[in-house]
């Protein structure tokens, strides 16, 4: 059968190679599921081989390395367009790379499907060829505050909030969403410490002590792995206590965070579109998780699951598109209503601005080195453990 080529634009080397590597593994699994016959319940295209309406054409993945840099990302995008083989671009990891690269595709009227970049600003630029599957900082922040509201109603202290974030697009947008909600709460919440830090820190003692001095009830983090880990250790080393530590999508989701740091991070919470115990609730996910684990030795995480889903969005669009021209693929993407049982929420449907509105995320908590969903009730497998003591 024919092949339909999809270009994947990720940081495969450079400082973000680790994340890129995991994403690559998950796309390979998704490709396998689509192209071969698996029959996993709730996952479209798993039974069939390839894309049914396009003569069972197989999905072919070609990878392009952004090295984590906008300049390289843009050059690679142009190369994809020039080569003219790919029907769709999926990428990139960082918001700061997704932005300029999608400008290029927009100008060339070529569809760009963003899997995981979380900056809300991406879908506020009035673009027509840009779509995003992942939830944004907006969704995460909304979920956090719904959760905190619940906790407050249960009589727990959540008033004093410390916001710790890296000074990048990711961190700053997360911080802005949190601030908006605190400001809008009419004094229910109070921002007692705002701790921005330079990404690529060598130590975070000053930051952690700032948090400690503010005596927060809740710490909210927007941090990537390396610093998140330093923070966890610093909190422990410096005896920082708090009621809850919530993380935006980022370093917290890296399975190494839970498994590598042991009791240091016991009780940390974070937004999550996938946790291993989803498998308990949805057996079909176990199959996927096993395939992924065979490749990487790790369990799936939220980001990987978003990426996984993204390839199905592409497959679905190809399936419905009247032909494989950029226009047709774009139109098909815009009309997406894909029900898929990979993430909380119904599946994928894009709003006018290209943002997935069927998305939802849950709160997970690290318990005994594993991620357990603790909120909301419909997804929870165990109750929330309140309070962190070093």
């Amino acid at each position: 059968a024919d092949e339909i080529e999809v270009a994947l634009l990720y940081p495969l080397t450079g400082p973000l190679a680790e994340a890129g590597g995991r994403i690559k593994a998950v796309y390979d699994v998704a490709q396998d599921v689509i192209n071969n016959s698996y029959d996993i319940q709730g996952i479209p295209f798993s039974k069939t081989q390839g894309i049914p309406n396009k003569g069972n054409a197989k999905i072919k993945l070609s990878y392009y390395d952004t090295q984590g840099s906008p300049e390289v990302g843009k050059a690679e995008t142009e190369r994809i367009l020039q080569e003219g083989k790919a029907k769709l671009i999926i990428g990139a990891y960082q918001s700061s790379v997704s932005k300029p690269t999608s400008f290029v595709t927009e100008r060339n009227k070529f569809p760009f499907l963003c899997a995981v970049s979380s900056s809300a600003a991406l879908t506020e630029r009035g673009m027509k060829y840009f779509f995003r599957v992942a939830p944004t900082d907006f969704h995460d922040a909304r979920m956090f505050f719904n959760f905190l509201e619940d906790m407050r109603e249960d009589g727990r202290d959540v008033k004093r909030i410390a916001m710790v974030y890296e000074k990048t697009e990711f961190g700053i947008h997360a911080m802005k969403e949190v601030k908006k909600r605190i400001d809008g709460s009419g004094g229910v919440y109070e921002l007692v410490a705002e701790v921005p830090y330079e990404y690529k820190a060598t130590d975070v003692n000053a930051e952690a002590l700032k948090v400690k001095a503010a005596k927060p009830d809740v710490i909210i983090h927007a941090s990537l792995f390396s610093e998140m880990m330093l923070f966890a250790k610093a909190y422990k080393n410096l005896g920082v206590t708090t009621n809850a530590n919530l993380s935006f999508c980022g370093g917290y989701q890296n399975p190494k965070f839970a498994s590598g740091l042991g009791d240091t991070v016991e009780g940390y919470m974070g937004s999550c579109t996938f946790a291993a115990d989803f498998i308990e609730k949805k057996a079909q996910l176990k199959t996927i998780n096993d395939m992924y684990k065979a490749k990487t030795g790790m369990n799936l995480d939220g980001i990987s699951m978003e990426a996984f889903t993204t390839l199905f969005v592409a497959a679905d669009a190809f399936n419905r598109a009247k032909d494989l021209s950029p226009e047709a693929v774009r139109d098909a993407l815009a009309a997406t209503e894909l029900e898929i049982a990979t993430m909380p929420g119904k599946g994928v449907k894009f709003a006018e601005n290209g943002q997935n509105i069927w998305i939802a995320s849950t709160m997970s908590q690290i318990k005994n080195t594993e991620y357990k969903v603790v909120w909301p009730e419909e997804w929870a497998t165990t109750p929330v453990t309140w309070g962190l003591r070093p």
Binding site: T13, A17, E18, G21, T202, N205, A206, K212, K256, G260
Partner: protein, 288 residues
């Protein structure tokens, strides 16, 4: 603000400062004394951390016990780097060494990436890792305290080596005028090779301790390289004691400055500190 936080700031600043010093002392020897700019310094650190990590993960040797092994491995990495990369460049502009070691740093980093992958690795259960003790509400991280101790020992050892020994004299002579040093009967190549090895071995000590409280990944060295460069220059070239004190100073500045002025400025403060010092003392705090 309460006193414990203030004292804790000083303690934390000092402890991390010692770690900086330990990393910078090796660089100070290679760069400050030998006048060879080693951009791969951070990669040496990374290699040390990986060596330590794999000895732990594969053979179960605790990082504390494997420290001598790591130091020896790094010695040979350093000596090898000198022999195959640096030696052919002596006598040309120092910039060429910068270029070569920069290439080397790309090479090492990506070779490691190729063989072990980009994953973060963490040691959580070892004799030192994750341990703290507290005195009167002040917390001390055990691995950092051990690092501080070793840092003092290493710096003092190198100080003795440089100023009190025949080797140190020969080294300084070699770096000042290679030809004339040879006429004094000094085997200049050997001296440089050993020194490069020792410089790398110092980083070995740092890396072997850092695994106890830092994630190991191919890019880890980058975080420290730049800081180490500034520390050496701040202390003044040709002076290891200078790098030692500058490291501690930088630890205090990042911690105190980060707390009082804002964490986002903590590295900026280091650079500003350097610029201020250099306008007053054009040769760094203790340079000649």
């Amino acid at each position: 603000m309460d006193l414990t936080i203030f004292l804790q700031l000083i303690i934390s600043g000092l402890l991390i400062g010692f770690v900086f010093s330990l990393i910078a002392v090796g660089l100070s020897l290679i760069w400050g004394v030998m006048d060879i700019l080693n951009f791969a310094h951070g990669e040496f650190l990374m290699l040390a951390m990986f060596t330590s990590f794999f000895l732990f993960a594969q053979l179960g040797i605790d990082p504390l016990y494997s420290l001598p092994i790591v130091v020896i491995v790094l010695y040979f990495i350093g000596a090898g780097t000198y022999r195959f990369v640096i030696k052919p460049l002596l006598g040309y502009t120092v910039l060429i060494a910068l270029l070569a070691t920069f290439g080397l740093s790309i090479l090492i980093r990506n070779l490691v990436l190729f063989f072990v992958g980009p994953n973060y690795r963490v040691i959580n259960e070892s004799i030192l890792a994750g341990k703290t003790f507290s005195i009167g509400g002040l917390y001390f991280s055990v691995p950092q305290s051990v690092a501080a101790l070793l840092c003092i020992l290493v710096t003092y050892g190198i100080y003795l080596l440089l100023t009190k020994s025949k080797f140190g004299r020969a080294l300084r002579a070699t770096s000042l005028d290679k030809d004339t040093a040879m006429l004094m009967g000094i085997n200049t190549n050997r001296i440089f090779e050993i020194t490069f090895g020792i410089g790398a071995a110092c980083v070995g000590v740092a890396g072997g301790l850092l695994v106890n409280f830092y994630a190991v990944f191919p890019e880890v060295g980058l975080n420290f390289t730049v800081l180490a460069f500034v520390i050496v220059a701040l202390g003044g070239f040709g002076n290891n004691g200078g790098a030692f004190l500058a490291g501690i100073l930088v630890g205090l500045v990042t911690t105190m400055g980060g707390f009082f002025i804002g964490p986002e400025y903590k590295y900026t403060l280091v650079f500003l500190l350097y610029l201020v010092v250099i306008t007053i003392r054009p040769k760094g705090l203790f340079g000649w």
